[in-house]
Amino acid sequence: MHEMSIAQSIAEICEQNAGGRRVLAVVLEIGELSNILPESLEFCFDACSRETLLDGARLEIVRVPGRGRCASCAGEFPLKALYDPCPTCGGYGVEIVAGEEMTVKELEVE
């Protein structure tokens, strides 16, 4: 349930950047390997945005698929889970190159 503290950080970043205007939408980039459940994040964001500039703001979550790079053969491939082996050489030493993103990309304000 760390979605609540993530939602609170998102609300804080939005408040700092909204310049006192009402926020209509928030665009987030959330990697598929980031341990964030979008439904849970939406629920927590609704809860912690009440009676703030963010009240009623739409949350748009852009998912970033996981990508890994093999430490043995340097090949890049889609990564569904951290324990996936390299499809080319079967190695397990996989560096994550994408999929861990947790970023506030954009705000739409009044």
Partner: protein, 270 residues
């Protein structure tokens, strides 16, 4: 107001310190050092009008964990300046983290100067157990929170005389998911897994095992009574993290603890 994290007295954590200070306190680390912003996402704002002229879009590109990462970097700089080796112990509840700490403090307490931060949602039961070993301890209760963050640690360590410490052990909230995402400024995460849990835990909770440098496989004295296959468990852990160091230990009998102590001693010397 706190100069490192900007928190005001109303957000303040319990200040039951045994030394006095006002609220405009310094944290004693070299400011301006080590303030990185997570994945290099510096906040840069620019606004442009959207097709609907009544609204504007503001591009901000800010890492959601940037604040935690900034405070973790401040902690790391503080620990480096004070020459303290810092470990973040993570596991599911009941794996034996506190028992491992008690045994470690009992066996190495005469050789090194330890302090412990205990993270739990409620109670100071673990802090009472640690205090009985004679080591300085600070309990952090997270309430509804499922993990420690860098801000909590920043304030928890204010209670210690850092110049008098060699090793700081942070026992995180028992949870194999959330603590994986929050850097505290530690040198290493140490994941504890007990043989009374499933051997496939590393695959079920891969982030934690991926982000940890050491795994302590605890309660091995119970193996004769269980179907747990330690070799399979270690293979799963290495599948998620090929470089992970694994020590099979029993905090109850002391079996295997010597390897862990040697690793601790070597880490301290670096």
């Amino acid at each position: 107001m706190c100069t490192t994290c900007g928190c005001g007295p109303e957000q303040q954590h319990d200040h039951d310190h045994d030394h006095e200070h006002g609220h405009d306190h310094e944290h004693g680390h070299v400011r301006g050092q080590g303030h990185h912003h997570g994945h290099g996402h510096h906040s840069h704002t620019h606004a442009h009008h959207s097709p609907d002229e009544n609204t504007r879009k503001i591009s901000i590109e800010t890492d959601i964990l940037a604040k935690n990462n900034r405070l973790a970097a401040a902690n790391r700089a503080l620990f480096r300046d004070q020459g303290i080796f810092v470990l973040n112990l993570v596991s599911s509840p009941g794996s034996g983290k506190t028992a491992i700490l008690e045994k470690t403090l009992k066996d190495l307490g005469g050789r090194y100067r330890f302090a412990v931060v205990e993270g739990d949602q409620q109670t100071d039961n673990d802090a009472v157990r640690i205090a009985a070993t004679g080591a300085p301890v600070k309990q952090v209760n997270t309430g509804a929170g499922c993990h420690l963050d860098a801000h909590m640690v920043l304030h928890a360590v204010e209670t210690f005389d850092l110049g008098q410490l060699d090793i700081l052990l942070i026992e995180n909230v028992g949870n194999l998911v959330c603590p994986a995402s929050f850097d505290l400024g530690e040198h290493h995460k140490v994941v504890v897994l007990s043989v009374t849990e499933g051997e496939d835990k590393p695959l079920k909770y891969p982030s934690m095992f991926h982000n940890s440098d050491v795994m302590l496989l605890n309660k091995v004295d119970l193996l004769p009574h269980l179907d747990f296959d330690p070799e399979k468990c270690k293979a799963y852990a290495r599948q998620v993290n090929p470089g992970i160091r694994i020590f099979e230990v029993s905090s109850r009998t002391g079996a295997g603890m010597e390897g862990w102590y040697q690793w601790l001693t070597a880490g301290l010397a670096r």
